[in-house]
Amino acid sequence: MNRSSVEFHANLAADEVALGERERVAGAMRAFTREIGALSALRLESCVHCGMCADACHFYIATEDPQYTPVLKVEPFKQAFKREAGAFAPFFRWFALKRRVTADELERWQHLLFDSCNMCGRCSLICPMGIDVAELIEQARRGLFEAGLAPKELYEKAAHQRRTGQPEASSEPYRDRLLAIGWQFKVEMPLDKPQAEVMLTVPRTDIEHYPAAVAALARVMAHLKADCTFRSDGLIAENYGYYAGGRDWQREISLRLIDQALACKAKVLIVPECGHAYSALRWEAAELIGKPLPFKVRHVTEFLAEALADGRLKLRSADLGVTAFHDPCQLVRKGGVTSAPRQLLHAMGVKPRETTRHVGFNVCCGGGGGVLDIERAAPLRYRVVEEKFHEIDGTGARTFLTSCSDCRRTFDDGKQRFNWQQTPRSLLELVAEHLQGG
């Protein structure tokens, strides 16, 4: 049964609709088999179907719908592994112990792998077998992408960013917008310096929605008298290739930033207030390009924390009353940036009330992993962000901070819907307002 591509009611981009069924399966198998290695094999073989990952997943907690069990999202990838490279692969094929993956099955999995998963890594924390379910999901997304089943919004943004460096067309080039923000906030915007120690990047979301955060970044760098520059050809930090699961596009998008960093011989590349951009650049870029990065990659909070530690940065104390800090899951669980934001807050005399006993176990905002961009996923996302609001309200905080632009937009978006009292504020802006001798 070879369904014509138009019958696919999945949420597909123009390029993806044209694919035939056999091409989709072949593409999925190509991506799945490329992801098979000792590590992914060990993980796929270890699952004992204990179902505990569902208890960590905010999509299951909010909906109690068993289809959102995290490890279930990896089923097509596991099927491919068992049939192609598992120890008893021939038997699995001859006796059909695992069916060949079909286009229909892949299509049904689009909702599971994209709409209902932020790849936040909370399921990986609870797994008693120590399986990094989130990474398996990331690898499974690549199968969907190669099968031409990545969600329309993510596919188009990834394709656009791969060609132009920014996910969407903008009324004016972002470099001009950047300079405009500079004048508006009366801060000097170093742009395209031929050489600089520090290369700055900016999240597209901040340029579009939160210009103050961009200005804050520039002001802090100026205060530290850092030899830094923006690069107009490597301005945007996000990586929609990572969201869409397009491994090769993710590499090309990262290469754009890497080339610019090499061009200006930067020693440090600053990733601004964004979650996935950090882990995509710091932990995955080197894998994708196949050689270590010749420069350091630091999240802006990390960079400031280092400056704080060696005394270059002094901060005045801030009176914020009961404060809560939301750890962006891509930053804390995937990126490993756990202590830097707290060091900055402590330096400003702020003791954040933790939402969970251990840092890094907090519930995800529900917008990450590209879910924010998928319209079809909005109702589901709202049910999840509601859970997050309960967690924050639980702390009784008056001020609520976070350090990721996508989280902020998700909270703002949810704020209107549930007219939630809190307003998410950026940690970087707070720091910029409390520079000592600034």
Partner: protein, 374 residues
Amino acid sequence: MARLELEPTIGELLDRQGVSRRSFFKYCTAMASLLALPPLAARAMAEQLLAARRPSVIYLSFQECTGCLESLTRSFAPTIENLIFNVVSLDYDDTLMAAAGAQAEQAREQAMRANYGKYLLVVDGAVPTGDGGVYHCAAGRTGLDILATCAKGAAAIVCVGTCASFGGLPSADPNPTDARAISTLVPGKPVVNVSGCPPIPEVIAGTLLQYVTSGRVPDLDEHLRPTVFFGNSIHDRCYRRPFYDQGKFAKTFDDAGARNGWCLYELGCKGPTTYNACATVKWNNAVSFPIQSGHPCLGCAEPDFWDHGSFYSPIPSPRWGKAGEVSPAQAGAIAAGAAVAGAAIGVGSVLLGRRRIARRQQEPKSQSDKGNEE
């Protein structure tokens, strides 16, 4: 005295010997206690016995060591002479009877003719069936032939000893004479197996007595053994069982545990897998039984007990083929060999897997190239 000499009933026989009714009644009470029958059954048994005619018994011996017969002669209750003269009429037993040669055979044929269809055939020893049964010949006839003729007219056959019941020692591996259990050679005949090597004297006598008093084959277990004697395992009736449950085991034959009379499970006791009455009826008129004298039970009442490995290797210890108990070195070698084989297959399967992964990569143009066509 003109009346035809009828076969006297047991009652008349006893009376002729001056045995009073009371002493015969006491004897039946003892028998009921031994056979674990309800005490008041003694009265019914006495009346039946008094009225019963003594059944004619033919005792055939084949491949055996006469241990069973020796054991029968040491029966205390009922004593052998009591049994032979009062309870059964032992018409043929080539070991016990005075006659020999042609007269003995003639006596047997005459008894069989006289009681055709009613006499009790007691068999001792396995019958070799190899090469036409030539490995056992008596009076010019093979054991197989003798058994067949005698079994035809028997009302029932009592196989005494593990040899007759299950083949015992003669049929132990390699069983050169292809010795067989009697029950396999007399299809259609009711058979009672009184297994043991030898069986307990009182168990043989008790089974014969029970047949005489009730006139039928007693309740049997799946090995055709009387459940009254073989219903429970030695382990279930063993007086050392509390030590087994408390985990107190003798580790060697003269350690503190052995001296304190602890359980002999770790010294190879086959009590749990053996069904017999040793632990209750005991031996030598209830003086003792193997475990009580400090030796593990060999399981002699069970089929093929010769081939269950060393009498001193515990029940759970694995036994791989004739080599007997597995040794760590042997287990290690097999494990290592298997591991190497596994590794080899593993390498094979992973190479196969890698080849398939590579082949999957050359599939048609990848999706990501499409993006360039703008």
